[in-house]
Amino acid sequence: MLSKRLVVCLDVRGGKLAKSVKFVDTRDIGDPIAKARQYYEDGVDELVFYDITASRENRDIMIEFVEAAADQIFIPFSVGGGIRSVGDATKLRNAGAEKVNVNTAAVKRKELIAEIADAIGGQSTILSMDVRRVTATKEIPSGYEIVVNGGVTPTGIDALGWAKTGEKLGAGELVINSIDADGTKEGYELKLTRLMADAVGIPVIASGGAGAPEHLYDVLTEGHADAALVASVVHYGEYTCRQLKEYLSGRGIKMRMNY
């Protein structure tokens, strides 16, 4: 049986690590590769590097960054932020990323998901989505809307429909990030995560809101998530990866404990 996964996300800006709170007021907290190596040694199951500047000028820096990370990290990691083409995805994959995350560019042109899945495989293609709660309407029946450009631009797209579309187009995994929960440290949005996880046949990584070990437990059980993504709860040293995993394992969740 597969283990549930603890995923740590590192927001990278110009090669530095930053953590966003509700997507604003980012502050730098150190060298991302050194941090990643620390988490790797402490038992994280997977890492995400998110390029929050995501400008075209930054592309080459990001490739170099991924190569440097791959020299240090011997577990799977994915890269996201500003991936707009098959070329971007292929370069990042070849630089050492196991998977790539697409977000805004896929909303703008959904065929991008299929193109990337064809080029590097569906198992390496992650559809990442930023979701906010809205009043349910005819256009957005689930009451969850996709927002883009780092969580600031509403799209009028229903998040549940988008998740199903992403799966159909070949995405091998979904990251569901709740804008409402992100940075609150009050727990994942369980209802959203479960809605999504139950609607698709691909793994779901829950994101946004982790502040305590029980939040991870809740989203991996009640939320039906395959993986729990954390950031500030480990970046600022409140918990180590080992502590989170020991807590989850102690409560009967199958986690990778030998590392």
Binding site: M1, L2, S3, R5, Y40, D45, A70, D71, F74, I75, P76, R93, N94, G96, E98, G121, Q123, G172, E173, G201, I202, P203, D226, R256, M257, N258, Y259
Partner: protein, 205 residues
């Protein structure tokens, strides 16, 4: 010196980096003449069996791999490299290298909750001792990404299994060849230790 075969099947740099991390000197090559002279070979790969076999044949690497195996050189297959060493694969109904009797088959899962590909961390359960599996304990997990797995004709060649809707072969051994369905180069410390054991292995069981 480890020779890593480069046959346009996925990111082989991660294997080379993992070798470097455990202090193994390694080179990558697509040249059959270099493979033929190798002292130790890693045969990695991700992707589909038909395109991989077509590439190997075109490059003359199929013969080189068979020859180096017959010469007794230690060979480590990883993922696709653990599949196309058998006689054939169900993926595209493809005839393969035939170093080991048996076939590569697709997961047939009764439990529809289980997803294909089998992707993530899973326990590798040793069923028969082997120098490369030395030190692996119950509960040790490795990283998998695959939809097919190798099924040696002779159960004696199965050295480890993993459970995904039932046990399947995830490590096989045959003479001087050993192969894993999981990715030691992406399995953290436990995977790196396995690569270090391969560096020390003389090819004898």
């Amino acid at each position: 010196m480890i020779t890593i075969i480069d046959y346009n099947a996925g990111n082989i740099r991660s294997v080379r980096r993992a070798c470097a991390e455990v202090g193994m000197e390694a080179r990558t090559t697509a040249d059959p003449a270099v493979v033929a002279r190798a002292e130790k070979v890693i045969f990695p790969g991700v992707g589909a069996a038909p395109s991989a076999m077509a590439y190997l044949k075109k490059a003359g690497l199929d013969t080189a791999i068979r020859d180096v195996f017959k010469a007794g050189v230690p060979v480590l297959g990883i993922c696709l490299g653990a599949q196309i060493i058998l006689e054939k694969s169900e993926e595209g109904n493809q005839p393969c290298l035939g170093l080991v009797p048996g076939a590569t088959v697709r997961f047939r899962l009764a439990d529809k909750q289980l997803k294909i590909p089998h992707m993530g961390w899973n326990e590798v359960k040793v069923v028969k001792t082997h120098p490369l599996l030395d030190g692996i304990k119950p509960g040790d997990e490795f990283y998998f990404v695959h939809s097919y797995y190798p099924q040696p004709a002779d159960g004696k060649n199965v050295y480890a299994v993993a459970d995904y809707g039932g046990d399947f072969c995830c490590a096989l051994g045959y003479k001087n060849l050993f192969a894993t369905q999981f990715h030691p180069e992406k399995s953290g410390r436990l995977g790196l230790e396995m690569l270090a054991r391969f560096a020390r292995w003389d090819g004898r069981v």
